[in-house]
Symmetry: C2
Subunit: 231 residues, 2 copies
């Protein structure tokens, strides 16, 4: 068993595996198994199958509890954005898991260590191993460290409506008063334009326009988010 | 709250909800909410979002533990066959859930109570409600009553290889000795036909042919399963 990996997981995530062969399996790619048949190793594919479902439940429960006003359709979109290959590959790299996966030579030489599909599978198989070794609460604790802060920073909020997203960002550290005010209306009835300002605690933080008051509000919220992200 | 539904769930599944509004929400279709806006009800769509993930994990963990020799690809196919709309709709009906869902008039008149998509959502939203009310173990217990026996009876075994499926069926009540025997080989080398018999505890229960010994074994196992299902 790779001692450095054990240390990383212990120090960074406060996790100590009881059954380290599970961890070993999670970090073993099929290409490595195929190149070392005499060792009779197990690759991480079955753990990935399980970990995928573990992650899906943890993210679903989090979104369900966090975004109590979002309808099912929006929740589903957001979940899909979070558990997609690209984002899980990034999480695997953020955890430095890419350093420790055991690859066959062919896979290594074709830059498999950077391949999003491989890294995504690795992230899921780690989660599968963690779930088997220590249960749902431990898996949840890990995801809460690695993924929830990203959701809370609004990284997936393009999947929400902008007003909900803005509210999420601003109320991260407690309640604040957010208000939308109609500041202009112009043009003929069939082509009216509305202008809205969004304020937080009385300070204007975004302006938007649209063909309805509702659309102008969404646009103002989007402008405010974009402005916040650039500062 | 519908007393009959409470009784059904208590008697049949030994479940008593602490928060019966969750159960009520699970059995409330959006069409009913829309027709009774003044009641400010909640439909079952968000619970379905959560229940979908709960079910996915329970089924995944079961398959992972049960079919230790199946590769990830087969597990994924089997999971997909189990959690698909049609099969969940059947489980919802088997639980008599279709009697209790609250529908709007339009939905009722267009035979919504029989619609697979609606019944599938209902099954998942019940599971979401059960999970929120009583946790994963209780949800698992329910699925173990309703779905696992179907899996064990081989209802989804077309997704497995036939030899594994046959083993599953025969060993349901403990270990039995299953053996495959080559009983014939004929034809020229480039077009050889193999014949195999499968026996359990010494009794032949199926015969099959194929272009390789392996294919003949699969065919014998399939014949045995088909025979067992017809008796």
């Amino acid at each position: 068993m790779n001692e450095q990996l054990l240390q990383l997981i212990k120090k960074r995530f406060q996790v100590e595996f009881k059954d380290t062969t599970l961890l070993e399996d999670a970090f073993t790619h099929s290409s490595y198994v195929n190149e070392h048949r005499y060792l009779e190793l197990t690759d991480n594919e079955r753990l990935e199958f399980l970990g995928d479902a573990v992650l899906e439940l943890i993210i679903s429960e989090y979104l369900y509890g966090k975004f109590t006003d979002l309808p099912e359709g929006k929740l589903t979109k957001m979940r899909a954005a979070i558990v997609c290959e690209d984002s899980l590959a990034k999480f695997a790299k953020a955890c430095q898991f890419d350093h420790y996966i055991r690859l066959g030579k062919g896979e290594e030489n074709s830059n498999g260590r950077q391949r999003p599909a491989l890294l995504c599978d690795l992230f899921e198989s780690f989660l599968g191993a963690l779930y088997l070794d220590q249960g749902l609460v431990a898996a949840e604790k890990f995801v809460a460290q690695v993924i929830f802060p990203k959701i809370e920073s609004g990284a997936f909020s393009h999947e929400m409506d902008h007003k909900t997203a803005l509210q999420e960002i601003l109320q991260r550290n407690g309640d604040v008063a957010i208000s939308y005010q109609l500041v202009g209306e112009e043009g003929p009835a069939h082509n009216r334009q509305f202008a809205v300002e969004v304020s937080v605690e009385g300070h204007v933080i975004g302006r938007g326009q649209g063909k309805s008051k509702k659309m102008a509000e969404q646009s103002a919220a989007a402008a405010a988010i974009s402005d916040l992200n650039n500062n």
